[in-house]
């Protein structure tokens, strides 16, 4: 039916009494997410939006059995919050917070190496959403509809726009995953694509990448080795100048590395259709595919 998250997943919010955390915890509840608690150190024992608040993630997990967490704490504290969740046994962590120092994330990645069951999404991401079931993060559910298109993206609003266009065209989504705009991330495009590949409910895939790094190139290689998913890729930032960070900390062309051209060429070489504008994503996904890297589809 979906990847990573469904209506049964017990979810907590770290930073639930903060402005962002509080607002989005309520949005998550409104769409049916099984929110079982929240964490704010010093506010344990109270309730917020009808769920218990705990001082630590360990206590929240012990009392509620939560397996997933959405993190909304300020950037300077977010790396510690991720590790706290992982150490408490949370296996799905979506870190929405932005402005986390890159060296903090490098230490987090090393910390998580000993916890192979834990999946981190983000940071600096909109989180994930399974239409009609649940979400962790800030993706607006009103543009989603249940269906068979998987979306994985480094962008926020570009993803919402794509969801809305797909929904308007009658193409629902299985799960939408925003992996984030930072240079050092949790799950990569390839990690998420591998999950969609195994999800029988997903038949189509949209990959929304941007300049910087080479995660898109690796994803293209993976798809090129054989995929049953009908895939369209879109890359933003083809006109971005070298050496400038375009909003996201990770969106930067360094020398001749990380260009939109290199990413687009990698997808084309793998037999994946590349959309030139966001409007084209829906057209290409619906159009008959001339060549495809798949061996099963």
């Amino acid at each position: 039916m979906a990847i990573l998250l469904d209506a049964q997943t017990p979810v907590i919010v770290q930073g639930i009494t903060g402005r962002e955390g509080s607002f989005h915890a309520e949005q998550m509840q409104l769409m049916g997410t099984r929110l079982v608690g929240g964490v704010t150190p010093g506010k344990g024992g109270g309730t917020h939006h009808g769920v218990p608040v705990f001082d630590t993630v360990a206590a929240a997990v012990r009392e509620t059995g939560a397996t997933a967490s959405g993190i909304f704490v300020p950037g300077p504290y977010a790396a510690d919050a991720i590790m706290e969740a992982a150490a408490a046994g949370v296996t799905l962590i979506a870190c929405i917070s932005e402005g986390i120092p890159i060296q903090d994330m490098i230490r987090v990645k090393a910390f998580l190496r000993d916890l192979p069951e834990t999946r981190l999404i983000g940071a600096n991401c909109p989180g994930l959403l399974t239409p009609g079931q649940a979400k962790i993060g800030i993706i607006p559910q009103r543009f989603s509809s249940p269906g068979s298109v998987g979306i994985v993206s480094r962008s926020g609003t570009l993803t919402y726009e794509t969801m809305a266009a797909l929904t308007a065209a009658g193409m629902g989504q299985s799960t939408i995953v925003g992996i984030g705009g930072d240079p050092v991330l949790g799950l990569s495009f390839s990690d998420v694509i591998a999950l969609f590949e195994r999800d029988q409910a997903t038949t189509h895939l949209v990959v929304i990448g941007e300049i910087g790094g080479s995660d898109e190139e690796r994803a293209a290689e993976l798809l090129g080795r054989g995929s049953r998913l009908r895939t369209v890729a879109f890359i933003s930032g083809r006109t971005a100048p070298e050496g400038k960070r375009m909003g996201h900390a990770g969106a930067i062309v360094s020398g001749n590395r990380g260009t939109a051209r290199s990413k687009e060429e990698a997808f084309r070489a793998a037999g994946v259709a590349v959309a030139e504008t966001t409007s084209e994503i829906v057209e290409l996904l619906g159009a008959p595919v001339a060549s495809h890297g798949g061996d099963e589809g």
Partner: protein, 375 residues
């Protein structure tokens, strides 16, 4: 933040890495004085970009008069868009050998990578492409840093075993820039081995993480004011906007980095050029839009503005009212095209039309419209 060469060298020196004798000179007179004190010097333009030598930004001076005239030529020069604010006058080294030492964030590995190579003084990316085996690599554990034996292995793998005793402690000191300064990239190229066997940093690059500025105030306060910077980017930063200057004629505002980059791309595809990147974030609040428009309209090259907003939680009618208010408050007369979609998009578009603002049905249509209006 990308530090200038002299700043990077000051940081290296503070970590205990030897640097050549040098003086910062803000005037030709100071350059002459530096040469009188140090003897023959290289007079080097201080800009945060490569290719200074090719651009005429590095000159050798053997007398104070030479140094004075070199500084006269270099200070104020434009190198790749940066006005040279000052020069660094550096004494000569007795070079026996040039090697390469650096670290950076390996995004694929999600880790820091230390690199050492016997091939110094060349572009390391070129070395990596032509002979990847000429670079020895180490991924230090980010919690404890590199251990002595790991560095020893690195030095021997690079074929520099004869210098291990000098290099191992020096690499360890360079690594301290990561935990102590939140450095993302450091490069000592060349790292000079002198005739008498000392190891000295010939050139230096250092970039620190802006996300860590909350705990790294000292470097930023000390060094960030030296370069003039792009006036619009400076103003945007004061107003808390995410803004990058570009060289086209269409001002751009978008909400979300990806959406905003996609908008620049569409403007170019339609035959125009973006004057800037400006991401106003998810909410698209009226005062933020007004701030962004103010900065964009400061630029006399701008002939029109394209706003691309996808309203998620924010309602389109609210965004539209904010846009109209911002335009009216600023008395904006240039063409304005708005692509507004998402929540309450119909109501939003109706408000725009009533107020004489051209709505675009899709980003692509809006891009074509604004390019047509600014030709």
């Amino acid at each position: 933040m990308k530090l200038l060469e002299y700043q990077a060298k000051e940081v290296l020196a503070s970590l205990g890495i030897p640097i050549p004798p040098g003086r910062v000179a803000r005037t030709p007179e100071e350059a002459a004085g530096a040469c009188a004190e140090l003897g023959p010097v290289a007079v080097k333009a201080q800009v945060p970009v490569g290719g200074r030598g090719k651009a005429g930004g590095i000159k050798l001076a053997s007398t104070p008069d030479d140094a004075r005239s070199a500084a006269e030529q270099i200070i104020g020069m434009d190198i790749k868009g940066f006005r040279v604010p000052l020069v660094y006058c550096e004494g000569a080294l007795d070079i026996a050998r040039e090697i390469y030492l650096g670290f950076t964030v390996d995004r694929d590995a999600r880790a820091n990578i230390l690199m050492l190579s016997a091939r110094g003084g060349m572009d390391i990316e070129q070395v990596a492409e032509e002979s990847p085996d000429a670079i020895a690599r180490l991924y230090p554990d980010p919690w404890r840093g590199p251990l002595d034996f790991e560095l020893n292995q690195l030095v021997f793998a690079a074929g520099l075993g004869e210098h291990a005793r000098a290099l191992v402690p020096l690499i360890k000191r360079l690594y301290r820039a990561i935990p102590e300064h939140d450095a993302l990239t450091a490069e000592i190229n060349p790292l000079v081995i002198t005739g008498d066997g000392r190891v000295v940093a010939g050139d230096a690059k250092l970039e620190t993480d802006e996300n860590a500025s909350f705990r790294q105030r000292a470097l930023e306060e000390r060094y960030s004011g030296v370069l003039e910077g792009d006036p619009y980017e400076v103003e945007a930063k004061k107003r808390g906007l995410t803004y990058v200057s570009l060289d086209g004629e269409v001002g751009i505002i978008g909400n979300g980095a990806g959406l905003c980059m996609g908008t620049l791309d569409m403007v170019q595809r339609a035959g125009g050029g973006a004057a800037n990147f400006c991401d106003i974030g998810g909410g698209a609040r009226a005062e933020v839009v007004e701030n962004a428009l103010t900065v964009i309209l400061m630029n006399p090259r701008v002939r029109g503005v394209l706003i691309n907003v996808f309203g998620g939680i924010t309602r389109g009618d609210e965004v539209a009212r904010g846009l109209v208010q911002a335009r009216d408050n600023l008395g904006m007369s240039l063409p304005l095209v708005v692509r507004l979609s998402g929540t309450n998009e119909e109501e939003g578009r109706a408000i725009l039309k009533e107020n004489g603002i051209e709505p675009g049905a899709s980003g692509w249509e809006a891009a074509q419209k604004i390019v047509g209006l600014t030709r």
